[in-house]
Symmetry: C2
Amino acid sequence: MENALREKPGCEIPEAPSARRKPVSLAREQYIDGILRGDRLILARAITLMESAREADREIAERIVEDCLPLSGASIRVGITGVPGAGKSSLIEALGQHLILTRREKVAVLAVDPSSRLSGGSILGDKTRMNGLAASELAFIRPSPSRGSFGGVAQRTREAMLLCEAAGYRNILVETVGVGQSETAVRDMVDFFLLIALAGAGDELQGIKRGVMELADVVVINKADGANAPAAESARGEAENALHFFPASASGWKPRALACSALSGKGIRELWECVLEHRAATRANGWLVRSRREQTRQWMHETIEQGLRQRFESHPGVRSRMTALEQEVVEGRITSFAAARALLDLYSGSGPKG
Amino acid sequence: MENALREKPGCEIPEAPSARRKPVSLAREQYIDGILRGDRLILARAITLMESAREADREIAERIVEDCLPLSGASIRVGITGVPGAGKSSLIEALGQHLILTRREKVAVLAVDPSSRLSGGSILGDKTRMNGLAASELAFIRPSPSRGSFGGVAQRTREAMLLCEAAGYRNILVETVGVGQSETAVRDMVDFFLLIALAGAGDELQGIKRGVMELADVVVINKADGANAPAAESARGEAENALHFFPASASGWKPRALACSALSGKGIRELWECVLEHRAATRANGWLVRSRREQTRQWMHETIEQGLRQRFESHPGVRSRMTALEQEVVEGRITSFAAARALLDLYSGSGPKG
């Protein structure tokens, strides 16, 4: 299966180094040319370069992103989340097909999920169900990076987004299963956020995680087909009532609830029209530009914070004392600031690379 | 008015330095003795010391908190928020009176609100309406610190909480009007979070800020008296329906909606019984201990982050370049990581105090 998927350049799966034929090294200009041409294989390799642990790779990768920067930004960025089982993959497949077949537009699908420790790579299960989309030349599908802290994964995804935009992808779907703070991280890098839910046994919407409903611009009740259609419509109404309690977000957009069936395709067109309506409205009232600028500014500060924290945490003195001090703080034996001061002093006393 | 309030040691209001008679300096032991005796004037002065900009004051203050640490923790910490006009002050007054008169327990009220730039001090409006509580010897009321960044205010409030607990205050109410991220900050330092709302013109709960409803352990519909009682009960039902959508929080507690009238006192006892029920349940299932430990651990890491950021931002090279680089990032001329790297390199190249 791995080899078969490897023939499809839109679907990059990290393999064990020994199993992989080493590709010919590319120069920075070749990466950029390829990306601008929309070459999916080169795009995939550039993204892999950004995920590399090697400093040399990372340096080339950053130059590539810098060169692509002026050509980025011209896409609709949609974040998608939903509990496992809500049909996220099927919905992404259906949306993607709508964009490709009906609107004749390119679509990139990026995943922001932490590595599965068991497989040593990204969670692949979802990807095998997207065969239709993965086979299209207008689609680019990328599982999440397979290493690094979560903060790093979010940064890599933002960079991948910029490259996809330079490669002409006008629609970018960023998906997450919703582990930890991933929904918030995705919300902070997209223009529109979509939450997929299911009708439950009663009125209750099944499985919506605390804090996520309020991030959503639209709540989509999936599997609104066959015998489940009435329950789905009922849940849609309940969601609409619940959303009613939340004031309009800063964009002026009032969140909605829709029902759809990824299986039958019902409601998919309406869903994308909703996205386009949000796009037009937030362009018109200036929020889109403001939001993008603020997200970019935030990205810079997150990068700084990560850099500071990384330098701090890799300091030998800090590393040797952190766990013990944390324990003393948690057990109420010393104050937070005493512990923090002890560690900051260790860090500062270290010399120029501090 | 200021002088009259100054006679009541529970209500400390910062005055212009020239207008204030300079109090006799206290030694650290005198502070600690006074706090342990429950002396409100000394407690207030200790808290003021912690808010001081002077390094010398801050050092004494930290020693005081360290000495009080073993005696802290034995209180119920309740966070309270609500939009202006929801009757937050009246409700706190009513709750406070219930604790003092009915339960014969001490109560401390701390505020986490940014300074009012106009007055140069904390927002005092609310405090003047709490005359009843302020007059009681079992109450200690503290407006928020009048200076410093918000992160600093949250830290100071946590420290004030520890001192109040060492002084024997078994109930601590931390209030915020809800500016910026203040509700989240308060949620992270209390055991129980209370949101006050009002019935609106229709079914809609008036004024609940996005993201805050999901922090609440109880939503209280205030002003459930007279002609407004039916509307309040209706809003209470709607809130209950909305809360139904949210799964139980990590504590296992299912959020509730109550109606009350701070004016008539109706529902106040029930409200506190709800707090006590939550207390008993989260003690029994171990969540209270876990939550406090996690909050303390988080506090330590926030303190470290603040220390790192402060050292970074006060670096002369960083200060000279930050605004310009931020502008270039926001306008899409350079990448976030290029800007971050430039600033981090300026910072690291500075020598031992880096």
